[in-house]
Each structure stands twice: as C-alpha cells, then as structure tokens.
Amino acid sequence: MPLLSVNNIEVIYDDVILVLKGLSLSVEEGQIVAVLGANGAGKTTTLKAISGLLKTEEGEVTDGTIEFDGEKINHLDPELIVRRGIFQVMEGRRVFEDLTAKENLVAAAHTQRCSRGELEKRIEQVYHYFPRLKERENGLAGYLSGGEQQMLVIGRGMMAKPRLMMLDEPSLGLSPLLVGEIFEIIVKLNKDLGTTILLVEQNARMALNIADHGYIMENGKIVLDDTTEKLKNNEDVKRFYLGMTDMGTKRSYRDVKHYKRRKRWLT
C-alpha cells in the first residue's frame, strides 16, 4: 500500500476555475518522487490539495480522494494533516522574516509535544545538516541570504519530523552550486532519516537525478509517469524537459513550430 495516494482529484478555485482535472499519483514509503511540469500546470495546487492549505485560499477538492497511510484526509484542516505527518515546504522560501532563524525552527515544531531538551536536540540536528544556520541562529530570518532561507525552510520541515515532506521548488532562484548542495541534503534526509519526499521542480534534470519515480504534469493532469531511469530516456522528456535534441545540438527556430505541435499532441 502506498504511503500517499491521490485518486482522481479535481480542484476548483473560486467556484469556477478548474485547476486539477482528475489527477492521480501515489508515493511509496521511503521514496523520492518528483513532479515536473511547466508553470501553471497545477503542481503547487496538487501539493496544497494534499496539505489542506487549499482551504486557506478559496480552493476546494471537489472530486476524488486523497489517502495518507490508508486514511482519507481531503476533508481535514491543515493543522490536522501536519499532525498526521505531512509537511509542506512552501514555494518561495517563506521564512518568518521578523523571527530569528532559531525561532523559525521552534515555531515549526508546534505540533510536536516534545520537551525543551528534545526540542534543542532537534534544532541541533537541523544545524548538523545545515551548519550555516547555526552561525546565523540569532539573526532575523528576513536578513538571511536566499540559500540560507531555503535551508531554513527545509530545516523547519525537519523539526516536525514528518513521514512525508513535500518540497515546492527548492531550487527556485538559487545559484547552481547551492542547488546542488540543497539537493544533496534532500537525498541525505531521505536516506538517513527515512523521510519520504514529494518534490515539485522546474529543474527537471536535478529532480530526475535524485528521484526514484517521476510524474509529468500538464494542464492539471498527469501525462506521463514512470521510474526516473525510463523518464530520462524518454524522447519527449528529453526534448521538452531536459532540453536535448537527438544529436545534442541546439535547436533552430524551425523546430519551435514542431515543438508546439508535439507538445499539443502530448497533452
């Protein structure tokens, strides 16, 4: 039985805008699963549907079910979903700017009924993975660099000890070196702590390199799904997501038309 299974969900914003049109995906315990897709495909909406945050922004799951650990969770409030062990690290490094880095971590452990000692231990664990946060622990989070903020939001996720961590574009706006560093840590979290990871990314190459399984979304639907090995060798994925042509040469403008045609066919 998969840890998370999303069955044929439909999401409507503001009672009229249909964003997800019958989307299904499943995540096995211990896996890293990547969801790829263009802007506006509905990746973030999918994560918000799972974490329940959709309810905070006029969105609604109108059809289908979301099951976590065998139980239906799509009607629950976000705080109850966090308590069950799903933690969404939101897109765009949304740190609490007016709190210090350490206070950000403390706030993230809100659902954990743990002692002061245990809390400190978890903070130390986060610092072990992100030593740079320790140096800045008493600085306001709003003044951290972009990379440090991304580390902080992932660290916040670790504080809640989730079974499933959902990461929404952790590479957004970071230098390639930092992206490499962040992705290494994501793999470490998965291997060392056994945290299952659902990763939404634009950086398809990076995501496919660390994930076990990948889904490709377009227009609110999954159009392709397979193991990452197979996806990496899929001609369409290579062409549209990894930017490679058959010969490894750059594409000419003539191909753009072709690209559009192919893409339409793909959906």
Binding site: T56, E57, R83, F96, E103, H110
Partner: protein
C-alpha cells in the same frame, strides 16, 4: 526643573498603564488585523469587576485581582468565539462596526449593572502616602501601579520571546498561511490574542481605578491608546509600550505648562494633537514594520 521632574514621574506612571492597554491593542491588531475600538471598554469592565468583587462582595484583594484576570480572559475568549470569529473574511468595515457596537454594548451593560456614580475601592488598597525621592514626591499607589504595569509588560514580553506559544503567535502575525502549513491553529492564536488583550486592559482598569476611582469615563482610556499605538507603530508591541509611556509624559507636561495660557483642558487634547502630528510626519510610527528588504 523640579516641577518638570515631578511631572515626568507622574506622567510615567499613567503612561505605564497606557502602555499596558496599548500593548493589548497592538497585539490584537498584529495577530488578527482587527482594530479593536472596544479596548477602552475592556479597561472599564476590568475596573468595575475588580471593584465589585473587592468592595461589594468583600473578597480579599489578591483573590479579587486574580479573579478579575480570569474573568477578563474568559470574556476575551468568549467574544472572539461568538462575535469576532464569525466575522473572519468579512469586509474590514463590518469588523470595525462590530467592535464599535461591542464597545457600546459593554459600556451600557456596565451602566445597567453599576450605574454612573464614581466608585471607589474601599477600604483603599494602597495608601496615598507620599514617598520622597530626592525632591520628587510620589504617592505609594502610584508606585504600585507603575510596578504592576511593568511586571505585566515584562511577563508578556518574555512570553512572546521565549515560550513556544508566544513564538507561534508571532509566526501567525508574520505569515498566516505558512503558520498554518506547520500546524499552528490560527483560530487558537486569535483566541489567545483576544484573551491577552482583554486581560492587560482589565489590569490597566483596576490599576487606574485604584488611583482615581472608577466611573464610566474610564473607557476614554481606549481613546488615549490610539495616539500611543500610532506613535509606536500600529503593529509593534515594543513600540506600543514606548508610545504609551511617551504619551503619558507628554500629556502631563503639556497640560500643566499650557493650561495657564489656554485656560485648561490641554491635558485631554494633548495626546490627540500629538496623534495628528505623528500621522502627518511619520505615519508608520517610530517602530512600525516596513517590509524587510534584502539587498
């Protein structure tokens, strides 16, 4: 010089109570974005309840004090649950109207229950005996008031800084959606904010009530809080405290020096003249948060 010092000290005492009530106001605004026009009525209710428990029912002052605090917390929670929570997501003007209505209802309730006569805590809790600090004279009741106000300010400052609940409240004030994504219940934080807001106001009410006695005009305190919080910056709790102290001192000094020329009443309007000046010169106040910009 000696007179000025005296004015500053007594201004500081009243200012510390303004600071306390302003902190409650800023807290509610910061975490729920509601401008609470009933803050002064919380002061009024707190003063009357403590007076009633102590003078009418004869409960020892320590218990009357504690009981007042409990009742204030309960009142804050109840009002949040019954009156303000259903208003989440409604237009801001409706929410403001609700708090104004709340103010009127509370004020009328107090009048119905206890009339409009001045009530005095009897027997007096703190003596009016003056104590000398060098050339400055301060009566004992002023010292107690100042002490208690600062005790509460200190306790709540520590609460927001060090406790997990306090940190989660600041997290909600900073970004509600992210706070929810980590399992913080925004509704609970709203309820706590209203209870603390009611609690500190009630304490303010019973402290001032001890100095001058209480009647219905105690709710004007709520109005004085506006200059204080706007001076400090609406969403800054530290700013509210400093704003409260400053307004207390300013009104005292302006009142006593300008009354001679203007024929009295300056003390009452001084804070509002300051309010207008702040809004013209520094609309975000001294400590109002502007978004952090990284460079």
């Amino acid at each position: 010089m000696h007179e000025l010092l005296q004015l500053i000290v007594t201004g500081l005492v009243i200012g510390s109570v303004y600071a306390l009530v302003a902190m409650g106001f800023a807290l509610i605004y910061k975490s729920t974005s509601i401008i609470n026009f009933a803050q002064g009525e919380f002061v009024l209710v707190g003063g009357y309840i403590c007076w009633w428990l102590y003078t009418m029912l004869g409960i020892p002052i320590v218990w009357a004090f504690l009981l007042t605090m409990v009742i204030a917390v309960g009142m804050g929670m109840l009002l949040e649950r019954l009156v303000l929570r259903p208003m989440i997501g409604e237009p801001i003007i409706s929410v403001i109207m609700i708090t104004i209505a709340l103010a009127t209802v509370l004020k009328s309730l107090v009048t119905i229950l206890w009339g409009t006569q001045i009530k005095v805590f009897t027997p007096a809790i703190f003596s009016q005996k003056a104590i000398h600090f060098g050339t400055v004279l301060v009566s004992e009741v002023y010292l107690w008031t100042f002490g208690f106000a600062f005790l509460f300010l200190g306790v709540f400052a520590a609460f927001f800084k060090f406790t997990r609940v306090g940190i989660s409240m600041r997290a909600v004030a900073n970004d509600q959606q992210v706070a929810q994504s980590m399992g913080i219940s925004v509704k609970r934080v709203f309820a706590i904010s209203w209870s603390i807001g009611a609690l500190v106001s009630a304490v303010g009410g019973l402290l001032v009530g001890n100095i001058n006695g209480i009647n219905i005009t105690l709710s004007d305190f709520g109005l004085k809080v506006f200059p204080a919080v706007i001076l400090g910056g609406l969403d800054s709790i530290g700013g509210a405290i400093i704003g409260g102290l400053t307004i207390g001192i300013l009104e005292n000094i302006m009142g006593s020096y300008l009354d001679v020329y203007l024929g009295g009443g300056v003390k009452e309007i001084a804070p509002f003249i300051v309010l207008i000046i702040i809004l013209m010169v520094k609309p975000y106040g001294l400590f109002g948060i502007k978004e952090i910009e990284r460079v």
